[in-house]
Symmetry: C2
Subunit: 648 residues, 2 copies
């Protein structure tokens, strides 16, 4: 054992006075099998500095970085060193958990009791609570789990992925700026706080009458009973009916990011070969992104950065000349959901970088070696063009996944094509009230006010004259806002709550100027307001807020029911919480070493400063301390050593 | 932009006074698109501490860890911030590099000029140097690359992997103790120092007469000319003719480690399901390792640790009771190449942990759901037994890969079954002298002294009496040792160089006691010495030392040839360097939170202390600072947050 090795060990121990010697085991194991002079090394008293200088020589500065990590980290390591040779306790497991009874419409096993239900006191306490089943493991689901109070529900999470992913940084992972491992957190760790259960399974079908969800796990189907169900299983990519999408990459998961990375490096390697034909080299170095939304734009920007900053140093310079990046966007501008200042900035940056923006164009077909698209000319005519390429990213919007589609088909009043329609309380429309919720990308909040017309008139027409005068209208506005917070800015024209503004809307639609709104006039009014409401975007921010809202509400409901002993009679959501209200905290996108922010009223963008601001925003959104620390480390590493160029 | 965001940005800048504003570009981009009060934030003067306390609240201690990383890291970030909008220079590329001429026995393109040969002055200087082609990217190859002087050769590396892997830690990566990304270093980064070239290709065939190696890259075949060829392409797993190995995992690459990890987590998830039958659960939690060498033992130990330390906290406790780990070993003991003290320690530890050691047993068949093996009973009879399992690791020794096999077949005097035979100068036996070398797992140094009998007698029989007297024997011993250093300890019986010992050997084989050795007596002597030599093990340590030896020698040869203008006449290896001599620095293996060391004369093992010693040894063996830092960080993270349980 060298002095350095010994010192590093004792260093750890001396830093950690509270450190327990684990069951007396590990140290007892230390013995010398032959005549090594073992007495000597304990008396050596090298200081840490001497050691560093003596042994690590030229790496002095470097070692201080890692030294910091190590020394400071060691303080935390505490229990990590308490390795146990502990005996395995006999854990009682309910026979029902090991042999579930069969039942339900399809006579499948019903998982009434789970394997770890009787594991310890905490689990046993929860076993009798109402069953909450969460389908999915993304932003919405995790947000529900994090805002629930521990002990209110018997929680089970169903997801085919065992971890949750920090999706907004997938474009960065795809090019190696951050490590995939820094973007994930095991769901079991998140659920542990709630003493909940995790099933590595896919939701297949729903029996709302029996409150059973059918799942498939490891090739077996079974039912899982629920009292409350939260559907948060996200979406799949919309195909827009384009043929050849099997030739495209998507960017929804870590393994997508990894495949993209591998393909980019593959293309560079193949283009470095002397046998590569010039045309083929151009094709290999042509990267096509279909869709000019944030994912597409960020990926294009990251690919540009990767080529310019990192690959350049290690691949033939010839390649750099021939790299081309193309973004195909159906609208007139990229990032068209952002403010004008932002898309202008992004477009100017891309134009400076030589990124080829193809706007007003729709992808027609994707072939293994090229993309065909139809471009609308300024004169209104259409033209079909093609880009040869060996990399196509498809990121053009969302569609329902099979389970969401199934749920939507089960309910006759579900007509939305891209998501499950929910009311302002996030309850799935048409499902038994207060039992099934949907959040995130797989849900959309209803925008039609008109369907509440009669209900509103009944409530507000106090003098029963079949018309709504201004006083009644003021009352009605309050009621509409309560029911559907999204209507707010359209009822108070300028987003302002003064009576004057309400008056303006009233007068606008009072077409016969009789100081009251007839049913016909109201119909027009509510219809137009409904049309003005834009659905919430399918973003992490929306899913996260919905999850937080829902988690808190579900905990409130559980507590009130318990307090009033109202287990049987269902408490209405309206009794404990207001409808969900989305608070837009701003959008941001990363464009070529710069970030653009859209904060609603304000928007700004910048180079270096904005990028770091952006990164720190992303840090604080992270799920766990572990991933937050990993990300920070990734960025330092990327700063010191550049992006990771391994094709893993 | 929040104060925190701003502060983090300015923090980076203020720490880094030398920081250049990149081409004036990034800061120019910073502008506010609308009425954000931009004047305000620059005047804020929060101290770092205030910030931390105010914003990160409870994460104070944590943030000091990452703060250290970030702050200290920022010092290094220097150039990372110099983002360039640089224009792309026109790089001249030789037309020959883009359209290689065809030729050679198979009329394939010959890559005489590579794409980046004329890139800059450094590359142009090297273009006329002798061509050195290295096949492979493992320990041997990287070690050659690291010990070559820059500028001596036009170096090209051929490897189907773009990175080199720190193989001794693959068992740790397989269970998530370290991140796969920490174990790899892109080959292009290693080659950059030599202004060398990398081709993402596979070696297929060799035309030694024309000094051309045939490679396949991206589906195209081509020739690469060489003056010196180093074969360092490793080995594949030996099948021992066992059917069903497609049901086994191997542990040779990062992607193997990743697949193993995924399977372990999959098995745990499937075993957590309520629909899992008890027998099936036992099978899912049964892990079988075939082979009791270091890889097998370390993997078994890491799986044990993973189950005991990390999975336990997040999976039903029932699973922990049912986990079983089996190691099947053909010999009587595991780690049988180590000293007795070490295998005894390892076996005792496994027995304490309940790891099932199945010794004296050969695997017969591997099925998707079980392993059949034949066990030799103490009475000499054989018995066929089976273990149900859903995870089998195959690590029972090495065999030749297709290219090595092909090279071996091309040379009639190559008879070794597991590797290419080389002489003590690491030259492939039978290939044109001084042109083809082989190192690492794919090579084995010849052990037959007998074949040099006549050559030795010619040189040493000074009185030409057809016999060797003691004086001539002393001379011969020196010559044999020079030729084959591995004979040393067998010629000086006790590994000692005193004349007395040499005398002893002489007398032992002088059967007719006439004070001289006849040809017959010499034949017996050399034959027996040859039999005593054991081939070097297929380890990273051997490959690494061979690579270092070869790299230094090749540089010496290049310089001497240049100095003497002897480009045409080939300088012999013997003229510049002694034969390769292996220096055993000790073996070590990691067994259940403990490491065992075998240092030749000494051996010791221990719990905690040894483990940390082991880890620091591994650190200092690392290829690059980057991976060294990453590993250190991984271990701290593993200490703080446990192993990574995501199934990525």
């Amino acid at each position: 054992m060298s002095p350095r090795q010994h010192l590093q060990t004792t260093l750890v121990r001396s830093l950690n006075p509270a450190h327990r010697i684990p069951n007396g085991s590990s140290f007892n194991h230390l013995r010398f099998a032959s005549s090594t002079p073992s007495g000597g090394f304990r008396s050596q008293s090298l200081t840490r500095k001497t050691l560093t200088v003596a042994k690590w020589g030229g790496y002095l500065v470097f070692s201080s970085v890692v030294g910091f990590v190590f020394v400071t980290g060691a303080i935390f390591v505490h229990d990590a060193f308490t390795y146990s040779d502990a005996h395995i306790d006999r854990v009682p497991v309910s026979p029902l958990a090991l042999n579930p009874e069969k039942g339900g419409p399809k006579n499948l096993p019903i998982a009434n009791v789970l394997v770890d239900d009787s594991e310890d006191e905490e689990y046993q306490k929860i076993a009798s609570k109402p069953k909450l089943v969460v389908v999915g493991g993304g932003w919405g689901a995790v947000s529900v789990l994090q805002s629930l109070h521990a002990g209110d529900y018997h929680v089970t999470v169903i997801s085919p992925d065992t971890y949750t992913t920090f999706t907004p940084l997938l474009p960065s992972a795809a090019v190696g700026t951050v490590q995939p491992r820094s973007l994930v957190e095991p769901l079991r760790k998140i659920i542990a706080r709630l003493h909940g259960h995790f099933l590595d399974a896919k939701a297949i079908d729903l029996e709302m009458h029996d409150k059973l969800i059918e799942i498939e796990a490891n090739g077996h189907r079974m039912y899982l009973p629920y009292d409350k169900l939260v559907i948060a299983c996200g979406s799949v990519s919309s195909t827009h009916g384009v043929p050849g999408l099997e030739n495209c990459f998507q960017l929804k998961t870590i393994s997508d990011a990894r495949s993209i990375r591998r393909r980019i490096i593959d293309n560079f390697e193949a283009a470095s070969l002397p046998t590569c034909e010039p045309e083929e080299r151009k094709r290999l170095l042509s990267f096509v992104v279909c869709g000019g939304g944030p994912t597409g734009v960020e990926t294009a920007a990251e690919i540009y950065d990767l080529c310019q900053e990192d690959l350049l140093n290690y691949y033939p310079k010839l390649l750099r000349q021939q790299v081309s990046i193309h973004v195909i966007q159906s609208r007139e501008h990229i990032l068209n959901t952002y403010s004008e200042a932002i898309w202008k900035y992004a477009e100017a940056k891309f134009s400076r970088d030589g990124v080829n923006l193809i706007t007003n164009s729709r992808v027609k077909e994707v072939h293994p070696d090229k993309v065909l698209f139809t471009q609308k000319n300024p004169d209104g005519s259409f033209e079909t063009l093609e880009v040869p390429t060996n990399f196509v990213l498809w990121s053009t919007g969302i569609a329902m996944n099979p389970f969401t589609q199934r749920v939507s088909n089960l309910l006759p009043n579900q007509v939305h094509k891209k998501a499950i329609e929910v009311d302002a309380h996030l309850r799935v429309k048409g499902a038994p009230i207060g039992e099934v919720y949907a959040i995130g990308d797989c849900a959309t909040i209803e925008t039609s006010v008109l369907r509440y017309l009669m209900e509103l008139v009944d409530q507000c027409d106090k003098n029963n004259d079949g018309k709504i005068d201004f006083e009644e209208w003021e009352d009605m506005v309050t009621k509409i806002k309560q029911k559907m917070p999204m209507t707010e800015k359209h009822l108070d024209k300028a987003g302002c709550r003064l009576g004057y503004e309400i008056r303006e809307v009233f007068e606008l639609y009072d077409s016969d100027k009789d100081e009251s709104l007839t049913l016909n006039e109201l119909t027009v009014l509510l219809q137009e307001i409904g049309n003005k409401i834009t659905a919430l975007p399918a973003t992490a921010q929306v899913a996260s807020q919905q999850g937080k809202y829902l988690g808190q509400k579900l905990s409130k409901i559980a507590r009130q029911q318990e307090r009033h002993g109202e287990k049987a009679s269902i408490l209405q959501d309206e009794d404990v919480a207001k409808p969900f209200q989305y608070l837009h905290l701003g959008s941001l996108a990363y464009i070529g070493n710069a970030a653009v922010f859209d904060l609603g009223k304000y928007s700004f963008m910048g180079g270096l400063v904005a990028m770091y601001a952006w990164r720190s925003v992303y840090w604080s959104e992270q799920v766990s301390m572990r991933t937050r620390a990993l990300l920070m480390i990734d960025w330092v590493i990327r700063g010191v050593w550049g992006r990771d160029l391994s094709r893993l």
